[in-house]
Structure formats: C-alpha cells, structure tokens
C-alpha cells in the first residue's frame, strides 16, 4: 500500500482497525482527540464494531474491560490526566489477565498541566500505574510510522501475554503529520479470543474475578503474573541503537525526545564528537541488559527526557555504577530543540575529557 499523510492520532486509529479492533471507548481530552474522532468516523459503523464516547475516562476503561471479558480486541485512548483516571481499570485488567490497548498521548503535568507534549508519565506507565503488583507492556514510538506499527503489534502482544499494553506517545507525535504505510489489511473476521465470556453454552460457566479472601491464593496469582512478566522481559524487550559502535558518550532517550536527540547527535558527529544513542522501544520491559552491554565500551551516559528525570533511574539501575550518568530534561510541555541538546552534549563531552 502506498504511503499516506496522516496525523499520528489518526494513524493509530487506522492501524487499530486494521488490527481487528472491535471496540473503542474514549473521552475527549487534548492532545488526542483526533484519535477518538477517527474512530467515530471509521469504526463506529463497521460491522460488529462499537464506538462510544463515554461519560468519563473511568467509564471508558471499564467498557474496555467489559469488551475484553467478551473476547473482543478493545482500545481506549487519553492523555495524562485522563490516564490517571484509567488506572483503576488497568489494575483490574492486569489482575484478570485481560488484554487491552491503552494509548497515552501524554502532556505536561502534574495536575491539569498543559496540553503540550511531555514525557512525565514514564514512572506511571512503567511501574504499573494503579494499585497492586503488576506491570503493563509499554511501547514508545517516535514517529507516525511507529505509532501505526506499534499499535498493530500492541494488540498482538496484549493477546499473546494476556496483558494491557500501553502506547506511550505524546502530544507532538499525536498531532504531527508524516507519511505512513499500513502494512496490514483489516481482517474479514474480527478476532475473538478463546476463554472469553460468551455464555455457558456447551461448556461449564466461567468466572473472571480478582477478589479472593485467601492471601495465599492471591500470592500465587501474583507469582503467576510475575512468571509471565519474566517471560515478557526475556522475549519482548526491544530497543534501537544509533552510532553506538565507537561512541564515547551514549545518549539514552525515548519517543519524540529520541528524534530530537538524533538531530543533536548528527551535529555532534559532524563536529567529530563520538556520540551514539540507545533508544528503548519497550519502556517496560526496559532494555537493562543492553545498557549494561554498552557499558563495556562507553563510560559516559546522557539521559535526555522531556521531564525532570524518570527513565534516568532505570539507566542508573542498569549500569550498576559501571558508567557515569548525566541528565538533561525539560518538563512542563517545553519542546527542546536539537541545537539545545547538541550544546548539552558537547559541553558534557569536553567536561568529561572525551575529546
């Protein structure tokens, strides 16, 4: 299929439909409204599909829970303050081992914050976000093409591991337009997961629940979840590298910040500075081993995020003291420029005596 020019938000919608998403439930919040509107226009009238503009983010995520109970591929989307409201439902989805795709086109916080792009929801996304011991797979796209590709794989991952998958984008990715190619056609038949609740016909009745009055039983459920999380860590950790082979300074950045950093690194290379980048694609599971591996050659790290320093903690944990970590961040929805980041890189490069 030829490339088409689309906003990131619309590309997610189209990719979701092509992944067999049957149900979308959303609630308006900037900067992700184009996605909700795309689903209203393109999903709501599809055979067997359902679109609801819910009365709240809480209702929307619980509708997703219901659709997932019934075996449908279901999605919701929001932005930071709305994602906070969805945490209750995400915790239940995780506990019940129900797949779902949740898009966060994040914006500046805390509180109502701003509507401009930010990455301040890293902690919330990668630590579970709601109550209880659980994790969600977190995908961090950095282009409209990746928004489309990752949306498709998010549904597959969610079904394969019976887990909610978060697509952590930001307001900039959602609103910008780029050429995008959709690699899949929408399925003729909507996929229905086995072991869904569709009435006890020809089989015993089934229960989907989280509550138990027996702590030992709940402990076993937690162990069972964590065994699966170990498997996900082993099989699904993904990342991208850029010019790391001879790099003396490694920039670690995700999502749109990695796009900005790439521009800065190109300038650095043009000026003879040996700088490379590691870009985690799955924020959870975090590419811990890969960071550790890089530390065999490069000792200096610059973590660049559009927040006050969140992923930097995962980098420090991964390095186990085997590399020195610096941080540069702009919170609140401020978009740093490549030349600004280049200045930080070159200053650090000379300060640390790498030249």
């Amino acid at each position: 299929m030829p490339k088409v020019l689309m906003t990131g938000n619309a590309a997610i919608g189209e990719a979701a439909i092509r992944a067999g998403c049957q149900c979308y439930f959303g609630y308006p919040i900037t900067p992700q409204n184009e996605l909700t509107e795309y689903m209203a226009a393109h999903l709501s009238r599809r055979k067997g599909c359902s679109f609801i503009q819910a009365e709240s983010e809480i209702a929307a995520i619980n509708m997703v829970y219901g659709a997932s109970v019934a075996g449908a591929r279901a999605m919701t989307s929001s932005s930071s303050p709305g994602i906070s409201l969805k945490q209750e439902g995400i915790s239940y989805l995780a506990a019940c081992e129900l797949p779902a795709v949740i898009v966060n086109m994040s914006r500046g916080g805390p509180g109502l914050g701003s509507i401009s792009a930010a990455q301040s929801d890293y902690f919330q996304a990668t630590r579970g976000g709601g109550h209880g011991d659980y994790r969600t797979i977190v995908l961090a796209p950095s282009s409209v093409q990746e928004l489309a590709d990752f949306t498709h794989s998010a549904f597959d991952l969610a079904d394969r591991y019976l887990i909610p998958v978060i697509i952590l984008g930001d307001g900039m990715l959602g609103q910008m337009m780029e050429p995008v190619e959709f690699k899949h056609e929408a399925p003729d038949e909507l996929p229905i997961r086995s072991r869904a609740l569709r009435g006890a016909k020809g089989r015993p009745s089934r229960i989907i629940k989280t509550f138990t009055s027996k702590p030992a039983e709940l402990e076993e459920i937690n162990w069972s979840l964590f065994r699966r999380y170990q498997l996900i860590k082993k099989q699904e950790t993904t990342y991208d590298t850029f010019m790391v082979e001879d790099a003396r300074l490694i920039v670690v950045a995700f999502g749109i910040a990695a796009r900005i950093a790439k521009g800065a690194i190109n300038t650095a290379r043009a000026n003879g500075l040996k700088v490379g980048m590691l870009r985690p694609i799955t924020l959870w599971p975090f590419p811990t081993e890969e960071v550790k591996e890089l530390a065999k050659n490069a000792k200096q790290y610059l973590v660049f995020e559009m927040n006050m320093g969140q992923m930097v903690e995962d980098v420090q944990l991964a390095l186990e003291g085997k590399g020195e970590v610096s941080f540069y961040g702009r919170p609140g929805g401020v978009i740093p420029t490549p030349s600004e980041v280049y200045k930080v890189i070159s200053r650090l490069y000379y300060q640390k005596g790498l030249k």
């Binding site: 819910a54 219901g66 075996g71 609740l197 009435g199 016909k201 229960i207």
Partner: protein
Amino acid sequence: MEKVYTRPRSLKKVTFHYCPGCGHSIVHRIMCEVIDEMNLQERAIGIPPPGCSVFAYHYFDVDMAESAHGRGAAVATGIKRAYPEAIVFTYQGDGDLAAIGTGETIHAANRGERVTAIFINNAVYGMTGGQMAPTTLLEQKTTTTPYGRDIKLEGYPIKISEMLALTKGAVYIERTAVNSPANIRKTKKAIHKAFQTQIDDLGFSLVEILSPCPTNWRMTPLEAWQWIDKVMTKEYPLGVIKDVTGKEDAD
C-alpha cells in the same frame, strides 16, 4: 409424585455465605428461577460488584465477571456492545449503584444500553460493616451516622430509580421488596419483565429491590422484614416507576 419445588438449574449447589435473614440469597434464587424459566443460562453474563454479593459468582451457574466498585454499568456496556447476543445483567448494591457508580449508571441508562440492573437497596454498606449509604433513611443510625442521618449534614436518601426514570433510554424500572412471600413473587415477576425488556431490545431496565440487612440494621430477621414495610417503603414506595415497554404484564 409431581415435583413442585426444586433447586434452579442455574443455581450452584453451594451453601450461601450470607447472614441469616439477608435478602441476597432470596434474590439470587429467584433470579436463577427466572434464568431457568426464560432459558437464559447459556446466554447470560452477570456482573457482581464488590460488596457482600462479590461472591455471587459462586452461586449463579452462568458466566460472570467481577466489576470494579460502581463500574458495573460500564462493564455491562462493554460486554453487550462486544457481544450483543448475551443477556447481560449487573447485580449492584446501593453504595455501588447510587454513590460511586452514579455516573456510569445514569449514562448507561440514558444511552438505552440493552442491559438489566438488579439493584439491591438495603440502605447501608453491608460488607464494610454498616456505614451510611446514599439510600440510608433520615435519622437511621449507621456506623458513620451514629447519631442518625441528619439532613443538614448528610443530605437526603437518594431516589436513584426515580432519577433514572427521567432518562429516555430507561424503559422499565420497578421497585419491589423481598420481605414477604407476596413481595418475593412480585420481585420475581419484575426480574422476568426486566430480562424480557432486554431480550426485546427495548432499552435499559432496572429492578430496585428493598432487601433486609438484619446484621447491620441490628434487628432480628423478622424485625427487618417489618421495618421494610413500616419505614423503608414510606421513603421508597413499591411499584412500577416507569414502563414504556408497551408490553402487557405476563399474567
């Protein structure tokens, strides 16, 4: 010899954990009778809430999915939209449906979701130990209104069924009680009609059931039955609140 009374097929052979005199077990049983009579066991999907009836899935032999507190109507919406062939019901208490889940309930009703809510009103939070519910009566003592519910401080008992009747999507709402054989029979009839409303694809249906909670009311089961008649029905009168189904009663 003709067998005139038996355990409903869709009621599991498990002993109820409910307190003596509690209304839940009565409602469970008559719901299962209706499910059997209407042949819905293979189509029904039930949604119990957190609360005393969180374990309803141990008793109903139909597919069931637990809901977060108050979100039953949203979960039911998701199930029904994804799988419209199902007969979806929520089983919710007064705190669940009329306090924390007010928003979800009103909007599901207003959208005319083809789901049925079985709403147990016992005027207290039962499982957590008898705190004030939105439906707690004036001057009623609970663990969080130890001096009695005071309108200046706690406001008024909420008439959520009457409120829901204002939404055009709600087509059948009736208030019943389970404090006498006659009222239990009327409740069963109402549940039957609510399910039929859903089967006929007419809109949202709800049966509010005044149900005794002798433990938290600090009463004997008999006193609790009498209190429903003498006190509760004065605030919450029994009968059809709304019926625009255009259907005659079955009998």
